[in-house]
Structure formats: structure tokens, C-alpha cells
Symmetry: C3
Subunit: 381 residues, 3 copies
């Protein structure tokens, strides 16, 4: 393919001649089989569409101020101003579709100024997505200008790229997240710390659907979903609502976890009584090769990482209050912990009082590094 | 399947309506193909057995006090009180079997009190396993009451779940570990630090068996198997015993490493002269797709993680004293290091004196953060 | 196979009887199917060649002193003394070949003495490679004596082992790195910190070849390629040279990233506007099973880790200045960041001035932990 060859030739002039100098001992030996290279290079051009597909739907997203937590400022995303939360709403897409998100910045300039630690960073809020494709003007970064001043609005377009196997290009299906990239510093440090993040799920049409999806976000200050235990778990066995702070299932239900890490610390995500395969969805298909994939119940994650999986609640372990925590001992001891409450098949909670006499308090006097509160009498839950 | 639909409908009422609000733009488009969902949902119910299989064997496990190390308390598990060690005994299971472990707590209340930093945590010891299935009463946690007071005993049942490919549920085969979850804090921080942990291997019947299995546990305080170099390596070329502190093989032998991380720090596990595939067993099968799996010789691990692999000793590298260390420079410099001593095919040690004149001492005056000892004249080994 | 059985029998006497004691409840049940074990054990012996293949080429490598950076000593590898750089030259190999590298140590004893923090470590420089096979005398370690005194030279032989699927042994193909293991401490802490490292790529003949390969090395002190932003990015849209500090591509080009981590800190490697599969090469082949592999745009890496991938520049995202940074907020804020500058298909830079008015400065007054400099007026670039 002549165009490819010309591209290669031109680019080689621009490139540091590492191949030539390092591989010159090979003489005339071709470095790779021609067939493979050609196949991929023919695909390269076709793989890049000239434009995104038209967005199939439009969401409204609001960035709004929320009540402080433990003396720290909280700002959240919501599909309406009234429903803003930390984490923000979980956005689901199907591979192949593009969506438009109109971000309305309702956070005051005073609050954004208070969160700012880098004077070169403007006063605004943005949306930066992981995993999906977007143009530079939907990047959500300062240098691209794709951010929103207080009282203003801006559209972002995300495309869940379909898989292109002929070109060897993976699709966007996965467990991702979105977050601010502007508040505080040019990497959004202040916005992330305040709560401007949420989960993004891209599915394939053949993916199994869970009964309920739960999001856990691990951050600095021993925070799980921007809270420390016991605030991470508002479960009431008499009224088992399902939310990211009341993680409940009936035995046998397909439950999905989407897990994010933000901030500047690393963590390990551990769940008792359940395991999952370290695949895209945690599911292991009926394939002989699948013998080679590690099955895990604990995963190291650093800021920016996200992963997810589906489990059958209580599968092989039964009903119970199953701990879900960071396995770094100092983190879990200080409140980076919650429970996965698995009821029986009829929806009845595990027997025995909840909270139990023991086992429901973080270490006394150790309420994390970022504030004085966070440890309260659990009798209030 | 009507039951599934009803479950879905009911659960949707309980769930935050994220799908409805976020995906409403999709209109009547089905989110996933019905076939896939049905197949999985039919399997969900059948995948959860009503009870574990009966345990096929019973082990006795003792938690006992051991001599201090560098001024720090040590407590270990043993299959007998006399053989308690750190790490504890490696437990091997086959997928499909259940075992019963009777834990006898022979640690004094005084010692457990000394290790306690959270006054809400009871005085006791437990067993918490990764990877296998267990009921809430074998969880080993405080809130479930599944712990053992001093002088008492308690049974734990673990089930190595067989793979259920039709349901997409992975089996328990893997390299896991077990540990206390009660001593010191409600996450077992004091028990883990003192040495209450060991390796757990679940095999499939078709798995290759190693000649020798070695366990390396990376913990806080630059500790490898709760020791710092040179204490990590008691190898004597004239009498090459095989133990977790004397890692020896003959060239060509299939050797297995099981590696754990505990505490509150992250590490990278590196071995010189050998590589392995990042699969369940480190082995790469004869499959075209296997081209896509990374081969590694260094792996990031955080607390709670465990992994393992098999190598052919000296395969392509030959006999030698091959370093095995954390690749974090401060960690390896301060003692988180040992050797994989590969003899020739006849079992003869590498030529030259051991220990060598150079290369056998950690940094002078840098004996880690947790104690004053750990650096001793190696001539004693 | 009688030899294997004898080996097994002998080694069992040397080994701690964990299998016997732990698995005795199994009685006569064979632990693994005989067929599988036999197949692997027959292969073990054959898998270990008696000697490396003869090196097919010889490289000269020079360790030389470079100008300080921010008051810190810099030492680099180069294929000639004049071209030494940090990172060092990228070395490419093909699976199956062996190469000889002659290392010439041109670093003065005074400089090596100044970098030394462990008095037991000799004054010298070495080469230690990841991923490939080498004998103990090419290990690059102190204890093996495989290092080079100032003014001296030494040969190292590396073998890129071909895959041996019948034996279940993976080949060496992958994205690796090489580094000093002697300067400063017996783990090369001083040499790594000064810049003695570079990328090593082992390809299969069927692998696609990129137009340009870029190397990013994440180290302590918020350093990317031993620099902090804006020094990490010398890009000039009017003269877009391609180097590791000017990462440039035209839309549609196949670009390769090789990414290393060194030092004592962990990081997460994030690129905007692009994703890759977590496979050996980042490419996802046309295989049904590939649905199970996670696609990522952020990866946790610790010291010693290396990974790489290929992307089509701007594929689905278009031209732009795409951020490439550590996602640990403190790290990116303080300079662990650069850009992937994607021009259009004709090679024209993105519209708009560069650097932009906003978005081009690290946090004021936060220049990392290792020195006072590193933040300079970017107008000089």
C-alpha cells in the first residue's frame, strides 16, 4: 500500500533513528512479517471516522454545592440540581452510541476560589471522561478551554466507540468514570476532593444486566464515597433501601459493583464472601482458555483506575453482612469500609441485631487525616 | 422467565432509577439482547447451592506465641503448636472439596491485649480466607462473632468452589491466603503485623504440580516473611535445606512461588533471571490467543493481594544466586530482599564462596522503620 | 518418566512436608491428572537449552556523566558517549535472538562515590535487564561481580527467549527495560535516580510496527523522564521534532508508548483521548474471547514495572494536545505531566497558540520534593 509506505518513510525521517542504529546488526532481515504490518496499516486509515455519530440523546448535568462533610467542602454532579450527590449519577451507554451532556455550573465563584490552590487555574468546572472518545473541545481541560464558568453551560460529546476487530482496536465497553479537571488545579485536584466525580458504564448489547449497580469510590483521607465509616453505611434492616451508602441484595441476584479511585493514594479493593474473574465484566465465559485468567477478591487500584464486575449475591456463601473495605490496614481501620448486606432469597435480612454489639465502630480516636468528624454514634443509623 | 422479570421489576423499584433517568433517551431500544440475559438469569438460581458439600477432611490449626523479632511480638499459625511459623503452613485444596479447620487459640489474653489498638475489638483470634467460599459464621470477623477467645476452639469450613462455566461463575482455583481478622483492630491489623497469615492454594486436577512451593509475604517495615535481609535468607550451600527462608532449587525443576502482601504499604515483587505469564498459574498454554497475555518479571501488589506462578528453575538463565526483592528501592535497600538459589542439574551449588565478599549486606545504619535489629553479621549464617 | 520421578522423590525429602501433612485427608486420590504432569515434566528438561544461541549482533553502550538537572546529578546510557540521554537508548530485539552489549563505564569514581549511600557497594556501573534471559555473569548485580569499574568495559549477553508452547513457557516478547543495579546501593538506587535506565522492546515477527516509539519513565520527585513539567515537553508546533520530550504524531499513525516506573513510589499512567487493551501490545485481536479483556486508559505501575501499547493517534478523538500524566493528583500538579501532540493527517498542528494562555504551568511554588528548580518560564521552549 503505497500511502502507508510513504507515511512510514516520512515519519522515519522525523523519528529518532533508534531502529536503524539499534537493529542495524540485523542487516536485511525484515523486522516483522510484511503481511501483518500491511493488514494493520490498511486498517489504520479506515479506523478513524471523519466525525462522531450524531448524539442519540442529551443529558443535563448540574454541578452544585452540597453540605460540608466533616468540615470539608462538598460539590456534586446531579442530573437535576436537587439530586446532586457524591458520587454523581451513574451514566450508562451502549457501545456505538454518542451522547451529549450539557453541564450547568451552579457552583459559586467564591467556592471555586476557596478550592483553588493554583493561581494559574481559572474559576470553572468541567467534565472529563475516561474510556470513551471525545474531541479536544470535550476534553474538560484548562488548556483546551473546555470548561464552564459559574452560571454558564457547555456541551460535551462522548462517543462509546464500537469494537473494530479487523483493525485490532478495542471498543469502549468497560467500567469507567468521569470527573472535573479544572477546579483547584489544572488537574482538577480541588474538584475531585470536593466530590465532582461519578461512574460511567459502557455496555455491549450482549452483556448481562444486573439487578442493581453499586458504586464505590476510594479517595484520600480514608474516604469511601467521600465518607468514612460508619457514615459509609446507612443500611437499616427494617427498611433496606438500595443506594451507594446502603449496599443491599437478595441472595441469588446479579449485582454489579463499579469501583473508582481518585486523589493521591493507592488502595486495595476487597469484598468478603465473593470472588470475580479479572476480566472486563468479572464474568468468566465457557471457554477452555479461561482457565488462565486469575480469579480475585482483592484488587490494587490507584487514582484514575476504575474497574467493575458482577457477582451473584451470596453465591456459595449465603446471606450475611459481608465486609467491603480497603485492605490497607490503616485505611480500613480508620473508616474506609462498608458492608454488602445479603438478604435471603425472600428478602429477609440476616438474623441477629444490626448493628451488632461488636464490630461496628472504627478505631477510637482515629478518624482519618483530613478532619475531626466522621466518627459518630452508630445508634443513629 | 417470569421469576427473573419479577425480580427485576421489584428491584428496580428499590434501586435508584439511574437506568431509567440516564438511558431514557434510548426509548424502546432493548439495552441488552434478551438471549444473553435470560441465559445468565436462568443460571443464577441454580448456581447457588443450598449447602456446602460435606468437608472431606479436617485440619487442626493452632495460633501460638513465637519469639520476638527485632523487639516485635510474633504470633504464628501451625498445624501443631510446635510447628507454628511465620508465614503459617501452606494449605492446599482441590477445586470442589470443602475442608474443616479447627482453630485452637493458644495465645494469651495478655499478648492479645498488648496487640490491641482498638478498644472495641474483642480479645481473640480468627481465620479469614481469601478466594474460597464460606458462610458468615466462617468469616473470621468480629461482627459475625466468628472468632476464638484464648483457650477456646472453633471450626471454620471453606469450600473451593468448582467452576460453573454454564453460569459464567469462576471456580476458586488460585493462589490465595488466609489471615486473622480480629487481633488488634476489627480488621486484624495487630494479628497480621504479628504474623498470623499463611498461603492457601486451590488447584484444579489438571494443574501441573511443582517440586517445591515457596511462600513470600511482603509486609510493612521492609519485611519479607516478617524478616529483613539477611534474616530472610538462611541458605547454606553445604546443607541446602528448602524452606521459605532458604529458597533453593535444582536447574530444571518446576518451582512454585506464592506471594502475599499485607499491612498498609504497596510493593513490587521482582525475581531475577526468570519470567512468568500474568495468568492464573504463570503458565502460558499452547493457544494462539495467549499471544495477548503480558509476560512479566515484576508485579505491583497491595495488601490483600496474592498471586503465584510456576517457573522452571534456571530455564534459559542457568544456575546462580538470583535476587528476589521488592523493586521499591528504599524497600530492597533496607532488607526486603532474598535469593532464589538455583543449583545445577546434579544439585551442586554455584561455584564461588557464599556469601560473597560484596553484595551481602543491606545499607549500613538503615535497618527499616520498625526496629533496631535485623542487621546482623552474616557470618553467622 | 523415571528421572522425573526420582527428582520428585528426592526433592520431597528436602522439602517441608506441607503437601503430605495438609493433603493427607485426600488418601489415595491423585492430586493432579497424570497426563498433565507428565507432559510438562517431559518438557522441563528439553526446555532448558544447554547454552544460549550465539549473539547475532553486538552493541556498544556507554555510561557517561550528563549536566545536572535541578541541582541533581545525571548519568545516562548512550550508544555513543555523545548521544547518552535519560532515558537511555531504546533497545529492540526479536524473539529468538541473543545480543551482546559491551558496557563502557566512563563515569568518574568521584561521581560514583558521590552517588553512593551504601559503603558495602563497590564503585562501578552495570546493566540489569528485565524480561530477557541472561546468565548469572550478565545479571548486573554486585554479588555476581557483573559490574564495570570506571574506565573499564564488560560484555553482557541477553537472550530473547522464543515461546515454547509445548512446555507452557512464555517467550520474552514484551515491553521491558534495563537499568544499573550497582551505583549507590546494591540495588542501584543511586544509578536509577541519576538516570541509568532505558527501554527494552522484544517483538515477535508478526507484531505490527509503529511509526514512532515514545518512552515515558515515571520516577520519584514527580519526574517524568527525569524532568518535571514544563521541562518534560519541548514541543514546538513550528518545528515538531519527535523525541521523548516532544511526543508528536499525525492523526492515523500507529504510535507506540513504552512506559517504565523506577524509584520508590507508585504511579498511575494516564493518557487523554485514547484507550488500549490490557494485553501484551495493547492491541485486541479478532477473537471472541477478547471480549473479556479490560480496556483501559489508566494503569497503576510500581517500580520495576514496565508496559507498552500501540494506539492509532487521534483515533476517534482527532487532533489535539492530549494530556499524558500521572493521575496521582499531587504528582501531576507538581510536574509529572506532558502532552501527546496529535497533528492532523497532513501534519498540521492543532489550531490556536501554543503554549496556551492557561493550562501550561504547574502549581506555583510546588516544584517537587527533590530540588528547588524544575519550574521555569516556558517561553523559552
Amino acid at each position: 500500500m503505497s500511502t502507508s509506505k510513504e507515511d512510514r518513510s516520512m515519519s522515519n525521517r522525523l523519528t529518532r533513528p533508534t531502529r536503524r542504529s539499534v537493529l542495524r546488526g540485523l542487516g536485511a532481515t525484515p523486522v516483522v512479517a510484511v503481511a501483518g504490518v500491511t493488514a494493520f496499516h490498511q486498517a489504520d486509515a479506515a479506523a478513524v471516522p471523519s466525525a462522531f455519530p450524531a448524539p442519540s440523546r442529551r443529558l443535563q448535568m448540574y454541578a452544585v454545592e452540597l453540605p460540608d462533610y466533616s468540615g470539608e467542602k462538598r460539590v456534586g454532579y446531579g442530573l437535576t440540581p436537587e439530586t446532586a450527590s457524591v458520587p454523581g449519577p451513574t451514566i450508562e451507554m451502549l457501545e456505538g452510541e454518542a451522547i451529549e451532556i450539557v453541564l450547568h455550573n451552579q457552583v459559586s465563584a467564591e467556592t471555586l476560589e476557596a478550592l483553588r490552590t493554583d493561581e494559574h487555574t481559572p474559576i470553572g468546572v468541567s467534565l472529563h471522561a475516561h474510556g470513551v472518545r471525545y474531541g479536544q473541545d470535550s476534553d474538560g481541560t484548562v488548556h483546551s478551554g473546555s470548561w464552564v464558568a459559574p452560571g454558564e453551560s457547555r456541551s460535551y460529546v462522548w462517543w462509546a466507540r464500537p469494537v473494530n476487530r479487523a483493525a485490532g482496536i478495542a471498543g469502549s465497553a468497560g467500567y469507567w468514570w468521569y470527573h472535573d479537571h479544572v477546579v483547584g488545579t489544572q488537574h482538577g485536584t480541588g474538584g475531585l476532593e470536593a466530590g465532582l466525580f461519578g461512574a460511567l458504564i459502557v455496555r455491549r448489547r450482549s452483556d448481562p444486566l444486573p439487578v442493581t449497580t453499586y458504586v464505590t469510590a476510594f479517595g484520600d483521607g480514608m474516604e469511601l464515597n467521600a465518607r468514612r465509616y460508619p457514615d459509609t453505611d446507612t443500611y437499616d434492616p427494617a427498611a433496606p433501601v438500595r443506594s451507594n451508602t446502603s449496599i443491599v441484595a437478595n441472595q441469588g441476584e446479579r449485582i454489579e459493583f463499579v469501583n473508582l479511585a481518585l486523589g493521591s493514594e493507592l488502595h486495595t479493593w476487597h469484598l468478603h464472601g465473593h470472588t470475580w474473574a479479572d476480566t472486563r465484566t468479572g464474568v468468566l465465559p465457557d471457554d477452555a482458555w479461561a482457565d488462565m485468567v486469575p480469579v480475585i477478591d482483592n484488587k490494587t487500584i490507584g487514582p484514575g483506575d476504575s474497574f467493575g464486575f458482577q457477582v451473584i449475591a451470596g453465591e456459595g456463601s449465603g446471606p450475611g453482612h459481608w465486609m467491603l473495605h480497603c485492605h490497607l490496614q490503616t485505611h480500613s481501620d480508620m473508616g474506609m469500609s462498608t458492608y454488602f448486606h445479603v438478604h435471603d432469597r425472600q428478602g429477609r435480612p440476616p438474623t441477629g441485631p444490626w448493628p451488632p454489639e461488636h464490630g461496628h465502630m472504627p478505631m477510637s480516636g482515629t478518624t482519618g487525616t483530613t478532619g475531626a468528624a466522621g466518627v459518630e454514634d452508630h445508634s443513629g443509623h
